[in-house]
């Protein structure tokens, strides 16, 4: 009998070949995935290492605290560091309530339909607007129309619109990660939807939410194009540079990095540009680590699990 495809040996042989092939594919895929991951790590190590190598020579207490100099060597980035944090916090104050609210609405309340799709689509479209266009929009609205001239507030509001989609997406994902059993249990106890969200769902979502905010904070730190047109390229002189008011020009560290590479004429422009880039990176790292610790603490505190 030829090709008795149903004979036991044939089936076993075929099956064995198939298993070997599948195992080989599995091993190959595993290898490729590991390679991809290692490449990303290497890439990152390279970037950080290179930025560190270029900029480490510039770091000193004087560099970190002194005001910038336009024409002579020896300028510092003190006010710019202050402004970076200032605008970051101000932006988050505006972005968080709106974005998290919209995220909650989309994830917990909205029924599939016209409004929901409209909001989702609007958010995604907003995400594609290049920061330069947003900066021009901010220039028109906040700097000229409202008459605030170059201000930290104008910069923060522009960045708010820019980052709404990202934080909305983060909120939705964070809420989605909370198991529905939690919601059901809460409702079964007679709580309204809102109470369920505030007392049960949100606390559980705090961890992923914080992580997401960290990612977005990193982007805000590095934002340049939108801020050049709204928060300006200068800082007030002397003590005024550390003003608490949002109505003053506020050059951030990222904008300063752009400025030194683009137009600055100080003799030590390379030192300042590279040093600023390194400090910016270090700030992002510190922020990441700090926010992780806070996120973990909050998760334990609100959900009782690590």
């Amino acid at each position: 009998m030829s090709e008795a495809t149903l004979s036991l040996e044939a089936v076993r042989a075929r099956s064995a070949r198939g298993v070997r092939a599948r195992r080989a594919a599995d091993r190959l895929a595993t290898g490729l995935l590991w390679t991809a991951a290692i490449s990303v790590v290497l890439l990152l190590a390279f970037f950080v290492g290179y930025i560190f190598y270029l900029g480490v020579g510039a770091i000193s207490w004087q560099f970190l605290t002194a005001p910038p100099s336009e024409v002579s060597a020896g300028g510092g980035i003190g006010p710019e560091i202050y402004n970076s944090f200032y605008i970051l916090i101000l932006t988050l104050i505006f972005t968080a309530p709106i974005a998290i609210s919209a995220g909650i609405y989309l994830q917990e309340y909205a029924k599939p339909g016209a409004f929901r799709s409209l909001v989702q689509f609007s958010a995604e479209s907003l995400a594609t607007v290049p920061s330069i266009v947003m900066g021009l929009f901010g220039l028109l609205v906040f700097v000229y129309y409202f008459g605030w001239h170059f201000s930290a507030l104008g910069g923060a509001l522009t960045l708010t619109i820019l980052n709404l989609p990202a934080l909305m997406r983060v909120s939705q994902e964070a809420l989605a990660s909370v198991p529905s059993t939690l919601r059901e249990a809460s409702m079964a106890l007679g709580a309204t939807k809102w109470t369920t969200i505030t007392r049960a769902v949100l606390p559980s979502a705090v961890g992923p939410l914080t992580t997401g905010i960290v990612l977005i904070a990193g982007r805000i730190f590095g934002e340049t194009a939108a801020l050049i047109y709204t928060a300006g390229v200068s800082v007030a002189a002397g003590k005024g540079a550390y003003d608490l008011s949002p109505f003053r020009p506020a050059e951030t560290l990222a904008v300063h990095v752009w400025y030194t590479h683009a137009e600055s004429v100080v003799p030590d422009v390379a030192r300042i540009g590279n040093g600023s880039a390194l400090v910016l990176l270090a700030m992002v790292l510190l922020f990441n680590v700090g926010a992780r610790i806070v996120g973990r603490f909050l998760t334990i505190r609100f959900t009782g699990k690590a």
Partner: protein, 271 residues
């Protein structure tokens, strides 16, 4: 519940009051040319140190935006590298002079070019540096953006009617031009003295004249222009004082890489 409403009301009230608060202090708002930023920013810093009651806000949004915004009375001073064509309401204050050097990658092997050779190179006619007595390297032209002051000075004084090649690279700011020329063999471009000096690039002599401040002041070197501060109508006393401060601070002007207007032995009306 009531607390939330209260906070919301406060926020709305604050937002409504805010614009008026911002306008309350006496401040000078300046925007425009990024090339002028080092000079204007430094002048603003030292001026504010001497006059603490005056607030000066500076930004670099480009010469065109500077002209537009001062014409719209949104800022007090519009910095510009170019003349404000078609803006009869604007008053021109020439605060400094900028010289522009033709810079090339050090490996091109030439240090002097005639005006005609420059025209041929920048229009794309000359393809290799060998044709002008240099190394056997392809010519890569780096232009500035369409309405850049630097580009318009270069076209006016060197190119004349010969059009710049469309297939060259374009870079926006002085810094990126310098970085590109430094790393791209065979590249050539034009940049302000302030940014181009001491960068390890070949600064071309034009018809035998070196790009130095003295040659600009005497008029022997042709590629230069004024830096303008435009105001909408005659400036207010505060603004006028600051503008005078900028043009009068010879030290500051020189340190920022510009030339003092008073030192010029020639003058032009078309730049």
């Amino acid at each position: 519940m009531r607390k939330t409403a209260g906070i919301a009301a406060l926020f709305v009230a604050g937002a409504l009051v805010a614009p008026f608060v911002a306008l309350a202090d006496s401040s000078i708002n300046i925007t425009g040319s990024t090339a002028m930023l080092p000079l204007v920013k430094e002048a603003a810093a030292t001026y504010q140190a001497k006059h603490p009651d005056v607030k000066i806000a500076v930004s670099g949004t480009g010469s065109g935006t500077g002209i537009t915004q001062v014409a719209a009375k949104s800022v007090d001073i519009g910095d510009s590298d170019i003349l404000a064509a078609g803006q009869s309401a604007l008053v021109d204050h020439k605060v400094a002079v900028t010289g522009f050097a033709v810079v090339a990658h050090p490996g091109v092997g030439v240090t002097n070019l005639t005006k005609k050779q420059l025209q041929d190179i920048f229009s794309g006619k000359t393809q290799s540096w060998k044709e002008v007595g240099g190394a056997d390297v392809k010519v890569t032209v780096i232009n500035r953006p369409r309405n850049s002051g630097t580009r318009s000075v270069f076209t006016k004084t060197i190119m004349g009617d010969v059009p710049l090649t469309a297939s060259g690279l374009t870079e926006d700011q002085t810094g990126s031009v310098v970085a590109t020329v430094k790393t791209t063999p065979g590249s050539i471009s034009y940049a302000a003295f302030a940014g181009a000096r001491n960068q390890g690039l070949t600064e071309m002599k034009i018809d035998g004249v070196a790009p130095t401040e003295d040659n600009v002041m005497s008029g022997k070197y042709p590629v230069w222009s004024y830096e303008h501060m435009f105001t909408n109508g005659p400036p207010t006393p505060d603004v006028a004082r600051f503008i005078e401060y900028v043009s009068g601070s010879a030290d500051l002007v020189r340190k920022a890489g510009f030339i003092v207007v008073h030192d010029m032995k020639v003058s032009e009306t078309d730049r």
